[in-house]
Amino acid sequence: MSDAKQINLTVDGTKVSVDPGTTVLQACEVAGREIPRFCYHDRLSIAGNCRMCLVEIEKAPKPVASCAMPAADGMIVHTKTPGVHKARKGVMEFLLINHPLDCPICDQGGECDLQDQAVAYGTDGSRFAENKRAVEDKYIGPLIKTVMTRCIHCTRCVRFACEVAGTPELGAAGRGEDMEITTYLEHAMTSELSGNVIDLCPVGALTSKPYAFTARSWELEHTQSVDVMDALGSAIRIDTRGQEVMRILPRTFDAINEEWLSDKSRFIWDGLKNQRLDKCYLRGEDNRLRPCRWEQAFEYIEANTRDVPPEKRAALVGDLACAESIAALGDLMRSMGAPHLDCREPLSPLGRNAEGGRVRRGSYLFNSSIAGIDDADAILLVGADVRREAALLDARLRKNWRRSGTTIGVIASTTSVPPRDYESVRLGEGASALQQLIEPTSEDARRFRNLLDVAQRPMLILGQGALNRIDGAKIYDMALALAQQTGMLGPEWNGFNILHTNAAQVAGLDLDFLPRQGGLDSAGIRKGVTDGGIEWLYLLGVDTHLPQQNKNAFIIYQGSHGDAGAAFADVVLPAAAYTEKSATFVNTEGRVQSAKRALFPPGDAREDWTILRRLSDVLGCRLPYDDAFALQQSMISQAPHFAERDQLVPLSNAEKPEPVRASMPLRDDPFVSTVDDFHLSNVVARASAVMAQCSRLANKK
């Protein structure tokens, strides 16, 4: 854009220079003028139907809708004349003709665009004496409450569903005054991003159903934090009232989530109140878990640890653990001299090469960065069921496809990927399709390979579905070889991407929470519990792929929710959920971000690292930090990038992806996603009634 001719125009006497294609409304914003609007939204197409953004342009006979008018050279725009004010006042009067005056019982009250703008442009009364229109409320799913009489027909929600979410389900039926926003025959929205229409709705027509009538916006405390439902680390705002999370909203962060949030991240909060572990539990003689005090729990652990040799002790890390707790557990295991520790899902090859050595950081990151998807000009998804594993990444892919028509190739099981609304090329289901791209013999493969070769910024997204399998290491090597052959690993561009599904994963790999020399890996530890090789196991929030049976191992579970892990354990230590601790998470790009404490953990539950610190005392191998700052300093000394918060540190050449050089036979079963149910993929989600309802609905089809 920089070399194109700039457009110069005057807004209220201020000269501004903007890129060609800018609208008058955007030019006014550049000049620092705020233009009221309802239908216009930065990230959606222009509709121009609310007329609130009227401005006067010299030589134009009438006020002009600035959102739909391209800026032109020499325009003289007025935004503050009495004429503009009168025009907007007229529009507002029209909008309010059919709008009910039910602000006192409306959940949007206090954060409503219409309410706010009516303060500036409303009249004290209406000249409209007739009956107001009334519209039947529509059912559009368990997440979104509709009060359609309030709708002002801005069609933001319709455009969002169609353009961003890629699920064209919402529409405007009827015409004129009788226009109604609805889904086809009022079925529930199927998009994983449907909750965003609540934020987009400028009035109270679409509001959050689970949040309905529970709080007012002005009585909430906002805490800026980070989401952990997937590995993207979306920016969120946790709204609390006292010691209760009332709702979760997205924060604008262009590098990750723009201003959207997936439904799981947004509607999870009732899961933070259910099934919580607020006391320690011990397994008694009768094989039942009984509540106890912290001292008893630690005594019990000490008694059962004393006689277990260090080489029989193991630790696993689950999907929601923060970096602090991983670091503390890693240090604890190290000081005990136990070699068996792993932060990965079973069979995952990430972080270690075939000889058991540590691999470079770039080998397990989403190297191009999430925003980098916008620049890619050919994309290959290998075993990544993006819509389930990272719904917002799917919206990014779609954004690129919409803007540039980028070809998106998919190698994944046909069963695992739900249909998306962007064109993709199915190249196959398993390893043989990947092999085809490396040495193409079929016409389809050759054509796509050619696209990757020609592309300036080709991108490969390798999902856990392709990695967490017996031949995962081999597939990783193949994908990297393809990346190298097609120029994905250039000096300026690194298009080799691993898409993680667990928020804890990258921090675990960064802190080298991986098997030591001679140590068992994730699958090995689990097997050890079954066959007796492991006699002491620490589960830091691990609730999936638990061993079928436990021969005689002593199991300690530390976590926030009573799920499969707690039921499997001998001692249960209650810990904080992600909203209840100031902690560090590293997202799939390797971006180090801080979650902030919005409220205190319930009951006896404590922040994770403090539990481990206390435990280290009990076990006689005291960890060398007494506060979070010291712990973070220790993390930084292990992995210096932990010092750089919120921003992405560019990888040095010494950190570029490297092969693991594995040799094993390839299997040809399809790449199946590790996330089989989007709505129930972690403990918080499984404790949430709202998510259960969504899951039931999604699986019904």
Binding site: G171, A172, A173, G174, D178, T183, Y184, L185
Partner: protein, 209 residues
């Protein structure tokens, strides 16, 4: 105009007849590849014809799938255009123009006939022959008052001729469309053209008579 909703009772399914499907495929060829959605209006119209003058919900779905459009997009179109009837109608759909010229020329009278002969607007007459409704300008003001019955315009009506027209239709007779006052087109009602002094013009019109 009011809120338009799909009928409560719907047929189980819809499919184009073989001829209509052939016709639809021919229509689709008029558009560039991937732009077949532009044919949505003619296809909906043909579906309405096939269903006897109304558009059932399965037909909306069928056309959406035929054109590879989301269901909601076709639903939007079907509810937007009032020419699509979302509930079943009688054999003859009588649309009485109520805009000013027709009203000045006696559309109130025609409306009264409708009430007497057919019943309430938007409902099917007991014999299944008629549904009537008031509409805005049909664009034939010079021959007011005008009534559109299915695809035909019936012009220059009065209560008596309209009543006769309806009884003829009820009896299954074919009725000629156009003026019911003996006019050929929209020449003056006196039978003369407006420029009586212009011999040539007169001849011209007489020639047609």
């Amino acid at each position: 105009m009011s809120v338009r909703r799909l009928a409560v009772e719907q047929p189980d399914g819809f499919e184009f007849s073989r001829e209509n499907l052939e016709w639809a495929n021919a229509q689709l060829k008029k558009y560039p590849d991937g732009r077949g959605q532009s044919a949505v209006l003619p296809l909906l119209w043909r579906a309405q014809e096939q269903c006897g003058g109304w558009l059932p919900e399965p037909a909306i779905r069928y056309i959406a799938e035929l054109l590879n459009m989301p269901h909601i997009r076709v639903y939007e179109i079907a509810t937007f255009y009032t020419m699509f009837n979302l509930e079943s109608v009688g054999k003859h759909l009588v649309q009485v123009c109520k805009t000013t010229p027709c009203w000045l020329r006696g559309s109130d009278e025609l409306e009264r006939v409708c009430f007497e002969e057919i019943g309430k607007p938007e409902s099917i007459s007991p014999d299944g022959n008629f549904t009537w409704r008031r509409v805005e300008c049909l664009g034939a003001c010079v021959n007011a008052p005008v009534v559109q019955i299915n695809a035909d315009f019936h012009e220059d009506l009065n209560a008596q001729s309209f009543r006769t027209l309806l009884s003829q239709l009820r009896a299954g007779e074919t009725v000629a469309a156009g003026s019911h006052a003996g006019r050929h087109a929209s020449e003056p009602g006196s039978g003369e053209d407006g420029n009586a002094n212009d011999e040539q013009e007169t001849l011209h019109f007489n020639g047609f008579k």
